[in-house]
């Protein structure tokens, strides 16, 4: 109880200091605030540069994707590596190979477990998900493939694709999802995604430019100019990101829901 009093005091002090700091913040929605327009006398801010120059530099209309995959390419690559490392960490923490370590494991085949839950639930949920899952996957692929022209990109599309497999595992059971997307396949896919991303960087180095400097790839992509090469490379990089995110999202669900056994699930 005493600890809660101290926690409240600490939180109130922190919040009070932050609320005091709010007084110096720009008004909500002010287009000339320092984050949006830079400080006075500091010249053009970097976000203004992105808005006005991105299309000239990269031919990508979606400024967010262009900044993500090109200007901040290093950052995004290692964000993808962080996601991959998280998947690996969960594998290392939870995964139990074999089934002698799980005391709650009952010798129930998946079909027995399902028939106990009642068939009427299964028909409604199963039929609905049978219709929804392909649409979700199609939309996920669209979000990835069209991510540099409309809202979307590798992370968002990857999460959509991963969630479609999670929906399959929820509506039927984990084994049904794992039959279509096995552990071997999803970790291969996750590693492939990072290799695609890094491959674009190394390809630029082979063509004697800096890592992830996509403009030089016009020699191999046969585009009209370095700008279009950047646009196409961004699509490739986003596909790599989508691979990793899809695989890792599903692997996180599969490991967490089955306590690392990859059997039965929830």
């Amino acid at each position: 109880m005493l600890s809660k009093v101290f926690a409240t005091i600490a939180v109130v002090i922190t919040g009070g200091l932050l609320l005091y700091g709010v007084m110096d913040f720009p008004a909500f929605g002010d287009p000339h605030s320092p984050p949006n327009a830079g400080v006075k006398g500091g010249g053009e801010s970097i976000s203004q540069y992105f808005i006005t120059q991105t299309y000239r530099d990269t031919k990508v209309p979606n400024i967010v994707t262009a900044v993500l995959a090109d200007y901040r390419g290093y950052d995004t690559m290692f964000e993808t590596v962080v996601i991959f490392a998280a998947g690996m960490a969960i594998f290392a923490i939870l995964r139990v190979v074999g089934d002698n370590n799980d005391p709650t494991k009952k010798e129930l085949s998946s079909d027995d477990a399902l028939s106990q839950k009642g068939d009427h639930n299964r028909i409604i949920i199963g039929t609905t998900c049978r219709i929804i899952i392909p649409i979700v996957q199609l939309f996920g692929l669209y979000v990835v493939a069209h991510g540099h022209h409309s809202p979307g990109g590798g992370f968002q599309g990857g999460v959509l694709l991963g969630s479609s497999f999670i929906l399959l595992a929820l509506s039927q059971n984990l084994n049904a999802a794992l039959r279509r997307f096995s552990e071997k396949n999803y970790f291969t896919l996750a590693a492939t995604g990072i290799l695609i991303y890094a491959g674009f960087g190394v390809a630029c180095q082979i063509l004697e430019k800096n890592f992830l400097d996509y403009g030089v790839l016009q020699k191999v992509l046969f585009t009209d100019g370095p700008e279009m090469a950047r646009s196409h490379s961004m699509l490739g990089v986003e596909v790599g990101v989508a691979f990793t995110v899809t695989a890792i999202m599903f692997s996180i669900y599969a490991n967490l829901s089955s306590r690392g056994t990859l059997k039965d699930g929830l």
């Binding site: 808005i51 960490a89 967490l256």
Partner: protein, 170 residues
């Protein structure tokens, strides 16, 4: 004072959300509740960043390069480029743009005024922060599962007692 609050209410909301999250992380005894607090804290930070990029009467930071120029720009000089679909290869350097504050701000058939688009930078930063947040939350949940498997409880004080008891026995 009322005007000040109207202009800054968003920051007040984030500070209050952040205080809720911080309080849960410090004061709650259950590890899952601590994780929920951490997620609330993270949400407050994400909302804070995104709200910094908001500009009044602005649109999403995606250029409408397929649209006919007349729709996006009231400037009559650019009606000669109805569509440039499939013709991305050429730049469109056009001189003589009256209300062009940024000399080479031409995007396809029309110029972009930075004030008409939301700041893309916070969106980029938070986009990756959200996905990495999900991945790290997954790792935290995995650790919580391992702790539950090992100690049979998720209450922090009970786990600490078991650890201390184990040391005493050694």
């Amino acid at each position: 004072m009322v005007e000040f609050f109207e202009q800054h209410f968003n920051f007040w909301i984030y500070v209050i959300l952040m205080m809720i999250g911080l309080w849960a992380v410090i004061a709650k005894n259950n590890l899952i509740k601590k994780l929920i607090g951490l997620s609330i804290f993270q949400t407050a930070i994400i909302l804070f960043y995104v709200s910094l990029g908001v500009k009044e009467n602005s649109t999403i930071p995606i250029l409408d390069h397929h649209a006919p120029a007349a729709e996006v720009s009231a400037d009559p000089h650019h009606n000669d480029e109805p569509s440039e679909t499939g013709n991305h290869g050429e730049l469109h350097p056009k001189a003589g743009h009256e209300n062009d504050h940024h000399a080479d701000a031409h995007v396809g058939a029309h110029a972009v005024e930075p004030d008409t688009m939301a700041n893309p930078l916070p969106h980029v930063l938070m986009l990756t922060a959200i996905v990495v947040g999900v991945a790290t939350l997954g790792v935290a949940l995995a650790l919580a599962q391992l702790i539950y498997k090992e100690f049979g409880t998720l209450e922090e004080n009970e786990v600490l007692e078991i650890i201390k008891g184990g040391e005493a026995n050694d």
